[in-house]
Symmetry: C2
Subunit: 376 residues, 2 copies
């Protein structure tokens, strides 16, 4: 049985809970605080009696709580990690109780910049406070407490999700048995910040952005689309671009010598940009790309060794050969810092041409590694 | 004496000549034709009696005819290849007569999209025909004929300039003694096309672009700036971004946690974008990035081996270890195709952290290699 034939968790529904209500509030790393806060979540599988089989999935920049299964019978889009979450999959829902929440600042049910600011009855827009990975984790912690789960069998995620997984193991060492960190790093590179800033600049330069106060029905489509196109290049690899598209032309045999989309790769990028605009919020993109830029374990804890000093989790660190957004050398920095603290860490650089997106796509390879890690 | 202490060609002036006037015209690869055509150029050094010491420099996407020296006494900006062109430099103006023209479709004196269309008395805008590398070379050929030079000691350039140098050696084999091709390739990669298309899309999405008919005083600044920011990332290397900027903050000790430019790298990118807008034309950017995308020696000649079948020039192919826009593997493809034709070719991969921009920056290293190649 290949992973695509594997059973699914089936039909699921995103739930929402008002987790924080005034006078309760969430204190943020910026010094500000936020209330009220809703959290959107999905769960798969069954929590066992001693509540020891819960696995928390942390999603990446454009993800949401919908990690597995489908929402309607005719749904063409499965949850973002359906390849890894389900019966007999890497995160086997026959054995584990798998939880995924939309992170703080998201636009898929958890309170974020496009939520209604109770003080104005308008969307927050730029009045929303800046969110850090630590803030996201603190809200997830409240949610796990709310479920009455004392300790997580594992916390995991790719990219920004991997950053959250690390922060979990650092901030709540007693609560994390295993941390599976995929295609992530202690910080984004300067080049990564540069790509993010171009995306943000494209959004705020779009006249429809309106200083962040756009009508949700007239969003800054072009700006967000450009941001996504830029991002998408960083998620693939040079190799995968060449094999998938090369110089193949778009619906033509020879050049038109004009400004039509001559190449398939141009058409593909535009498709990626315009389909993203239909499902994602521009201000949220601003905030979450910032969240990634701010993340910096060395900066926050003084050194990477100090950052991991108190962790108790066993770590599985996975990187991808063709990932140039979070290159393997950065994963090795994590491994070295954990080893310097005599922590338990397994590390594998997975051979793949998919680039950074491999954390979403390499279902079979990841299953083999994760399954074994969780059992031993 | 280091290269920076080396003498300069001194004060120079860009000249312009009306090279083509109706009924004469230039036939283009697209099937269209263009007339009239002005060519802007500079020359350095002295043409010898038998006209055998001329070297033609071909510039890259954002370059111009001003390759060396300065235009005014207080000029803070030297010509784009001043590190390589001048007395005792790689292209030694004590020995060689060095020529540089602004290419066809440029915005620095040679006829291009921002020139006046004599049929409308308005700038051409999108009525300008699409230009290929072959068209650029054909116009340069007319210019060299105009100077009465029968054969070039060398033709050279980096990036798009290197593409022109190859096309010269292929189209006019009898006229080229040496071809020095730096940081170039037989075609841009699919990823390269993708980056170009994002830049183009940013320009045409800018409301000030006005379907290409913008008032030159109110150009699509934001779009062109984004295009340049994207381009700039591809010209540097991940390593150089990390060493030059890392995570250093911009005029602050700690995060402001807002949408100001927190990191130096953000500020730098914006500076690069906004300074480019002051010196470059948006429509020209559309056309010239297309010119690069269209270039494809395999596509045009059937195979890379066939492309080089009739060349007579000796080739020097130079690539840079950290260049990911035109990676060394692509330079090796050129070398292999030349060798398959039993042509004379020298190849060196230059160790550098500067990325693609090394062709502009590695003056000392390039001097050592080019000087020796031209003498032997």
């Amino acid at each position: 049985m290949t992973i695509d034939e594997a059973p699914s968790v089936g039909m699921v529904k995103t739930q929402t809970v008002r987790l924080i209500d005034p006078p309760d509030k969430l204190s943020l790393e910026s010094g500000k605080s936020l209330t009220p806060i809703d959290v959107a979540y999905e769960t798969y599988g069954t929590l066992n009696r001693d509540k020891s089989n819960a696995i928390l999935l942390c999603h990446a920049l454009s993800g949401d709580a919908h990690a597995a299964g489908y929402h309607t019978k005719n749904d063409t889009k499965l949850g973002w990690w359906d390849r890894l979450v389900g019966p007999k999959k890497a995160f086997d829902t026959d054995h584990y109780f798998v939880i995924c929440t939309n992170f703080l600042g998201g636009c898929k049910g958890t309170t974020g910049p496009n939520s209604i600011n109770p003080q104005t009855n308008q969307p927050y827009g730029l009045d929303f406070p800046v969110i850090t990975v630590s803030d996201m984790v603190n809200l997830q912690k409240r949610f796990i407490d709310h479920l009455g789960i004392p300790r997580l069998k594992a916390v995991t995620g790719g990219s920004l999700g991997g950053m959250q997984a690390m922060e979990w193991a650092i901030q709540y060492p007693e609560m994390i048995e295993n941390a599976i960190v995929i295609a992530a790093a202690a910080h984004v590179t300067a080049q990564g910040i540069a790509f993010h800033e171009i995306g943000r600049h494209a959004i705020v330069s779009d006249p429809q952005w309106q200083q962040g106060n756009y009508n949700p029905k007239v969003p800054p489509k072009e700006g967000l689309s450009i941001a996504r196109m830029v991002g998408h290049i960083t998620y693939l690899s040079d190799y995968s671009f060449n094999t998938r598209f090369g110089r193949r032309l778009q619906d033509k045999d020879k050049f038109d010598y004009n400004f039509s989309k001559e190449f398939q790769v141009e058409s593909y990028l535009h498709y990626k940009g315009s389909s993203f605009v239909k499902r994602f919020d521009a201000n949220t993109y601003l905030y979450i790309s910032k969240t990634m830029d701010y993340f910096d374990l060395e900066g926050k804890y003084g050194s990477l060794k100090k950052a991991f000093e108190k962790v108790k989790a066993k770590f599985l660190i996975l990187s991808f050969t063709s990932d140039w957004l979070f290159p393997t050398r950065q994963s090795k920095d994590l491994v070295n810092a954990l080893l310097a603290n005599d922590k338990h860490v397994s590390f594998i650089e997975v051979e793949t041409d998919y680039g950074h997106d491999a954390f979403l796509l390499e279902g079979e390879k990841l299953k083999a590694l994760i399954e074994r890690f969780l059992i031993t």
